[in-house]
């Protein structure tokens, strides 16, 4: 894996993306009237000052070490990271993809149809359980949501663009 200043490249990504967002935020706020932009400009300027420092602090360089010590009091050791082995990237992507599958299904087919499909597929493919268990889970959760939200709370659940 490619590394930069002693740290894998991907470790810089969140701070770098946030820096780009902060620049957009700062520039956008310049377009508002003086009263409305005062607070956003202060926040934007703070982010623009802190984020480059964070990028440097991530690196394993002498300046990075100094920033880490300076801004994080010496007695406060960072929380112990999980000692469990890092899971492969594929696993992270799969888990997130299933969440997006749920959103897409909710939007297309409606909430009551999306939930059983999501639960069944998640239990079967992510959890590696048998189809009968996946289907029992799907029906139970779908039914519970219907009883709780539609019957008890009288909430009209989103029907989806296909059935609306």
């Amino acid at each position: 894996m490619k590394s930069l200043w002693g740290v894998p490249f991907y470790r810089y990504l969140p701070a770098a993306i946030l820096l780009v967002a902060a620049i957009v935020y700062f520039v956008t706020s310049l377009g508002y009237n003086p009263d409305a932009r005062l607070f956003p400009l202060l926040i934007g300027a703070t982010l623009l000052a802190l984020l480059p420092l964070d990028l440097v602090a991530i690196s394993r360089t002498s300046i990075g070490d100094k920033i880490r010590v300076w801004f994080n009091p010496a007695d406060a050791t960072p929380d112990e990271k999980d000692e469990e082995e890092e899971r492969p990237l594929k696993r992270h992507v799969q888990a997130l993809l299933f969440v997006f599958l749920l959103i897409a299904l909710m939007y297309l087919c409606g909430i009551l149809a999306a939930i059983p499909i999501y639960v069944a597929s998640s239990v079967r493919f992510l959890g590696g359980r048998s189809w009968p268990i996946a289907l029992i889970m799907a029906v139970s959760v779908g039914l519970s949501c219907y009883v709780l939200f539609t019957v008890a709370l009288q909430t009209d659940l989103y029907p989806g663009i296909l059935f609306n």
């Binding site: 508002y32 359980r129 519970s144 709370l153 909430t155």
Partner: protein, 509 residues
């Protein structure tokens, strides 16, 4: 005294007890469900209360208000998923305890501090009532602004070892708080033409994403169960937990006082109370490094503050007609529906109803804690379930709950976006709590800062000319310096020791 007794007697009817019990059951139930808070439940039940007698309606409302926090505790400790925003802080030490197999101990402590904190808050309410006016009047826009800043600083400094990143996420949260119509100028900001964002980033869907979804995705990736392998399966230590809040009576009392004071100040709410209480407890502790890893004092301080504020929050609502929170705003609607106009006149004319409400709130605090303890054992078994079965259920209910808040499909999208943000924050070690508190306090801070500047024609020195402001400024400075003072002192002591050693060697040589 006669009104006090009459208030108690008014609650003793069969129907009043029934509605109080119903309120407690609803409060516990919605408290357990992430994203559906007491406010939502109150809103849904407001039309229903119209057909009830005032005391019955108050019993129902008090049951909900006094018990949602206890419901939220269960999911916060067992699943790291706060049922209520304020319970987010309970996760910090509650979840690590659950992972160590001490869920019973944590829930016991939370329940007893919840009940005792609630009672202390109500006793304070009775004691403060005559002085309430002066206290609320002492807080103007400069004080509200500084109180918001103090909340932000405390949150950032409690992220031990990650203070720098906590400051970044605080600023990020403040940036998110500026989305929508400006309270000051009415100008639309950062909405990029999207109507949904006019009201800003909706907090509840964002919270469900940041906590419930992010946590469940992480658990899905890890596999196993919520409780770490090897942790004892039995829920033991419940009684120890109950006694823990009495053993740590100082923490309990401090949390209750903080909750009471914050509750009196309108617009601040339980989230700030819990953060403030937790932050001050961490800063004043001899072992601050143990917080966030399962220190029972973290739970006691938080839960006592959350429930103590419920009583004191009634002061501005009843005495001045200023709702202290969204929940109180809905409750005011219920009062008006029953022909009562909150304000000084109500304090004189409706004493019996007010005392009835206070009694109902007290009963709700105690009963919900007892029911919470009773239900903790079966609920604690949730931590043993394989996450591959549990996570899809939590994620699905979280998303439906997010939609149900205001029947908006955009809420679902916000939950998903914040779910990804939360997951990235977990993976890259950015604290999530400062982000939440900054979103909550951003609007308050900006609005009051602008009002302060208008009051003083842009003169910043006004913050130094008011007694409460000065106290708050000093508190902010101390909060920023306190985490750095200990290491500096330790480093100086080490330098002195090293110098002494060199001196000895020199003499010896």
């Amino acid at each position: 005294m006669a009104d006090w007794v009459a208030g108690f007697q008014s609650l003793l009817g069969f129907e009043e007890i029934l509605y109080l019990s119903l309120g407690i059951a609803i409060g516990l139930f919605v408290g357990v469900l992430p994203g559906i808070g007491g406010t939502t439940a109150l809103v849904l039940l407001t039309p229903f209360t119209f057909s009830l007698e005032p005391v019955q309606a108050f019993a129902l409302a008090a049951g909900i208000m006094g018990s949602t926090s206890m419901g939220g505790v269960v999911t916060a400790i067992l699943l790291n998923t706060p049922g209520q925003t304020a319970n987010a802080v309970t996760c910090l030490d509650g979840f690590p305890l659950a992972q160590q197999g001490k869920a019973g101990y944590a829930i016991g402590a939370a329940a007893s501090s919840n009940a005792l904190g609630g009672m202390i808050g109500i006793i304070s309410l009775l004691a403060i009532m005559p002085l309430a006016g002066q206290l609320v009047m002492a807080f103007g826009p400069p004080e509200f602004f500084l109180l918001a800043v103090l909340g932000l600083v405390l949150v950032a400094t409690t992220a031990r070892g990650r203070m720098f990143r906590a400051l970044i996420t605080t600023a990020f949260g403040l940036a998110l708080a500026t989305v929508g119509f400006s309270d000051v100028t009415g100008q639309e900001r950062f909405t990029f033409g999207n109507e949904y964002l006019w009201d800003g980033v909706h907090l509840a869907p964002a919270l469900i994403g940041l906590f419930a979804v992010a946590e469940m995705v992480q658990l899905t990736v890890k596999g196993g169960s919520v409780a770490k392998a090897g942790a004892p399966a039995a829920i033991t230590g419940m009684f120890d937990g109950l006694m823990a809040s009495i053993r740590n009576w100082g923490t309990l009392l401090r949390g209750s006082v903080i909750g009471t004071v914050v509750g009196i100040i309108p617009g601040i709410g339980g989230t700030v109370a819990s953060f403030l209480s937790y932050g001050i407890t961490v800063q004043s502790a001899k072992d601050p490094e143990t917080f966030g890893k399962g220190n029972i004092k973290g739970i006691i301080a938080t839960e006592a503050a959350i429930n103590a504020k419920d009583g004191s929050m009634l002061i501005p609502t009843l005495a001045f007609g200023i709702p202290g929170s969204a929940e109180m705003a809905v409750f005011m609607t219920i009062l008006v529906l029953h022909g009562m106009q909150p304000g000084p006149l109500m304090m004189m004319q409706n004493q019996v109803e007010i005392y009835g409400l206070i009694w109902a709130l007290t009963a709700a605090c105690v009963i919900s804690a007892a029911v919470g303890i009773f239900l903790a054992r079966p609920l604690a078994k949730l931590t043993r379930i394989d996450v591959q079965l549990l996570a899809p259920v939590i994620i699905a209910v979280g998303f439906v709950g997010s939609y149900a808040i205001d029947l908006s499909i955009e809420n679902v999208l916000i939950t998903a976006i914040f779910g990804v943000i939360g997951y990235v924050m977990i993976k890259f070690d950015y604290p999530r709590l400062p982000l939440v508190i900054a979103i909550v306090l951003g609007g308050i801070a900006e609005r009051n800062f602008h009002q302060s500047m208008m009051m003083s024609d842009g003169d910043l020195s006004m913050f130094l000319g008011r007694a409460v402001s000065v106290v708050l400024l000093v508190s902010i400075a101390l909060s920023l310096l306190a985490p750095n003072l200990k290491p500096l002192r330790r480093a100086a002591a080490m330098r002195r020791a090293a110098g002494g050693e060199r001196f000895k060697r020199k003499i010896g040589g």
